[in-house]
């Protein structure tokens, strides 16, 4: 059966979730030779308000580019969690940054609540790479895209001087999931 994986990354402007969505799609399409779409939308207070990126990864051609059956929802704000948790499909994944999302409704999904931004700050030394830590978590949790592909996509997005820092952030995310297993 063909793989089709739908992601929604949601939070507020400035958390780098649009870029994370692009990296995820680029990893799948450019480096893993799959098909991928990536969309972005901002809330009414845009670029400072809410932001949302959806990524669809598929082995087959993508007939419709909007996410309708979310396999993984990443929430970086309580508001995003409250708004989107119902869209996660049964047995899908709700991944929450526990530093910002404290009230998680009960639902038929697998919950992963991790201090993503705190890990970025403490283990990498820069809270702003929380989006890259999240990508590590997502790659390790879902295996929808290979870790090597995500690394390549990250490297194509960052200047040479910060490659090491960003790869470290990615590995922090991977290791956080490994510790859960």
């Amino acid at each position: 059966m063909a793989l089709r994986y739908e992601f929604r990354l949601s939070g507020s402007g400035g958390q780098g979730l649009i870029l994370a969505g692009k990296i995820l799609a680029e990893a799948a399409a450019i480096y893993d030779n799959k098909n991928a779409t990536q969309s972005q939308s901002y809330g009414p207070e845009a670029r400072g308000g809410s932001s949302r990126s959806e990524v669809i990864i598929s082995d087959e051609e993508i007939d419709y580019p909007k996410a309708v059956n979310i396999d993984l929802l990443l929430v970086f704000t309580q508001e995003a969690c409250d708004k989107y948790w119902k869209d996660v499909k049964e047995n899908g994944i709700l991944l929450a940054d526990s530093g910002f999302v404290t009230k998680i409704p009960e639902g038929n999904y697998r919950l992963y609540s991790l201090p993503i931004t705190e890990m970025a700050e403490k283990e990498v030394g820069k809270a702003l790479v929380a989006n890259i830590v999240a990508l590590g978590v997502i790659a390790e949790l879902t295996k929808a895209v290979s870790k090597e592909a995500v690394k390549s996509a990250i490297l194509s997005r960052v200047p040479k001087g910060t490659e090491e820092l960003n790869l470290k952030a990615f590995n922090v995310g991977i290791n956080a999931v490994k510790r859960l297993k």
């Binding site: 400035g14 780098g16 870029l19 692009k22 799609a25 680029e26 399409a29 450019i30 098909n35 779409t37 990536q38 969309s39 972005q40 939308s41 901002y42 809330g43 009414p44 207070e45 845009a46 670029r47 051609e61 993508i62 007939d63 419709y64 580019p65 909007k66 702003l128 194509s156 997005r157 960052v158 200047p159 040479k160 001087g161 910060t162 490659e163 820092l165 960003n166």
Partner: protein
């Protein structure tokens, strides 16, 4: 027949993008421009960006009426457009509408944009702005592109002044797309006096030259922290940017 910039577009998406550009060539009213392509694509097409990522197509419209007319314009039957937004997303300085376009089974993000006074900025010198004209052959099919796209130096001027770039710089966001674009153009043009004359005039048009030079200097002085330690900052650029200039009328906007 095959432009080199296509090397930086995922091969699976070549046909779709070229088809979209051909479609936009038909939809662009060239007598009285209804929209112009801004953002990264003009920089890619004009040979400033040399890396492979997912590019978006950003269409800047003259005004809301023109945008709404564009949405209604008849388009090639095989083109599918999916709207990501339910309505125009209206904000203080920018109004946007996000869509995805497809001629096959790959999708390209095409964003419709309105920005106060910026359409005039990009199109003021339209008589001097040469359209991008290209015949492209892909898999024995030929596509014709004839499109007005923003001048790359204008794109950079706007980006240097953009609140988003200012925010990215203040937060030292190394992944900032805008900063990457600014530095890509700077690397190539830093010793080109025509470039400096052009962008300073364009900053004058926006009545923000002082802010522009301050922002540009700030970007260059933080290049190292942003991960661009290999960026060569030349005496000419510093001399030009450090030239005193009186306050602009729009300085505090």
């Amino acid at each position: 027949m095959y432009p080199s910039w296509l090397d930086y577009v995922n091969e699976k998406r070549h046909k779709n993008l070229v088809n979209i550009l051909q479609e936009l060539s038909k939809l662009q009213s060239q007598e009285n421009l209804n929209f112009i392509i801004i953002g990264a694509l003009p920089l890619l097409i004009r040979d400033y960006l040399h890396y492979l990522v997912y590019w978006d197509v950003d269409l800047l419209f003259r005004d809301e009426e023109t945008l709404r007319e564009f949405i209604k314009m008849p388009k090639t039957r095989s083109l599918r457009i999916v709207n990501y937004d339910d309505n125009l997303m209206v904000n203080k300085n920018i109004t946007s509408f996000h869509t995805a376009w497809s001629f096959n089974q790959t999708w390209f993000n095409v964003d419709y944009i309105l920005k106060k006074a910026i359409f005039e900025f990009y199109t003021e010198n339209i008589s001097k702005l040469e359209p991008y004209i290209q015949k492209i052959k892909l898999n024995s099919e030929i596509y014709y592109i004839h499109l007005y796209i923003a001048h790359p130096w204008d794109v950079i001027t706007e980006k240097v002044l953009s609140p988003r770039t200012e925010k990215d710089l203040s937060l030292k966001i190394d992944m900032s797309v805008d900063i990457r674009h600014i530095f890509a153009v700077y690397r190539k043009e830093k010793d080109n006096i025509q470039f400096w004359n052009h962008i300073l005039k364009r900053a004058d048009f926006l009545q923000k030259r002082k802010k522009f030079t301050e922002n540009f200097l700030s970007l260059l002085s933080h290049a190292n922290e942003l991960g661009y330690s290999d960026l060569e900052i030349t005496p000419l650029s510093m001399e030009i940017l450090k030239t005193e200039y009186p306050n602009d009328t729009n300085e505090n906007e």
